[in-house]
Assembly symmetry: C2
Homo-oligomer: 132 residues x 2
DNA sequence: TATGCACCTTGTAGCAACTACAAGGTCAAG
DNA sequence: CTTGACCTTGTAGTTGCTACAAGGTGCATA
């Protein structure tokens, strides 16, 4: 299949697919006589895997690791497990930080009852060290 | 004060401060005879404001807006309020997405009881084709 | 046959928000 | 007078794409 078809099938832009090829995430496809990329079902499967992992927040290099690991059916599963655990920890860390942010933003909104910026608690809140 | 001192005082790298100057986020400082940047307390206050807003997830252009707004003491507070509200919404959106991710990753970990990658549920889970 | 159009090719540059050099200048201490 | 910390400018790298530009291919239609 051509790149446009693969793009549609995976919800990926053609430019992104070519980018993945450059980055060694997706193996290069065969070429037609007109020099068009010609993808196989295996490419489709790999790209789906990549997109799914990226959607779960794995970095490009983590995706590369996952791809390498998943090629070795007989190897231990623990490396994959480890990567997922790491990613889970990272996601939890982000959630916690965002919740702190959210609380602070909410607080700011509630404290703002001024009508002039000169009296605005939000601006004061942001301007931590005085003398502006 | 020199750039290094300002950097230490605000927990910002000197390179970042120069970057802010280039981007028009922080006004240019006076120069000493040796061409070193010489910052005032006003610079310190502005940079603190910037870092605080950036730390709360506001984009550079939002920070610019906030700075412009906070310069007009007599203007209405509602624009500031609006920006904070918008940012709060964005943060909530991110939290929700991350929670979905977290759930999926946890699920994957729990389903993995294989010892061989060939049997690994995680790899199989990732290999699912995209479901629209 | 010509032509129009969708699709493809490579290459390069842009995005956010920094960060990391390199090559050199300034300044106070020893 | 040299050392070493600090500063200067300029440029390029980071991540993961995305957006052109200029041209080639393939197929349907006039």
């Amino acid at each position: 299949m051509r790149i446009g078809e693969l793009a549609k099938a995976t919800g990926t832009k053609a430019e992104t697919i070519r980018y993945y090829e450059r980055e060694g995430i997706l193996p290069a496809a065969d070429r037609t006589t007109g020099n068009y990329r010609d993808y196989s079902n295996e490419h489709l499967a790999t790209l789906s895997f990549v997109r799914r992992a990226r959607g779960l927040g794995f970095s490009m290099s983590q995706v590369k690791e996952l791809l390498t690991l998943s090629d070795n059916d007989d190897k231990s599963c623990s490396d994959v497990d480890q990567l997922v655990r790491q990613q889970l920890k990272e996601v939890n860390r982000k959630i916690e930080n965002l919740i702190l942010l959210r609380d602070e933003l909410s607080q700011m909104l509630q404290s703002c009852e001024a009508s002039r910026i000169g009296d605005c608690q939000i601006v004061e809140h942001l301007a931590q060290p005085p003398q502006v």
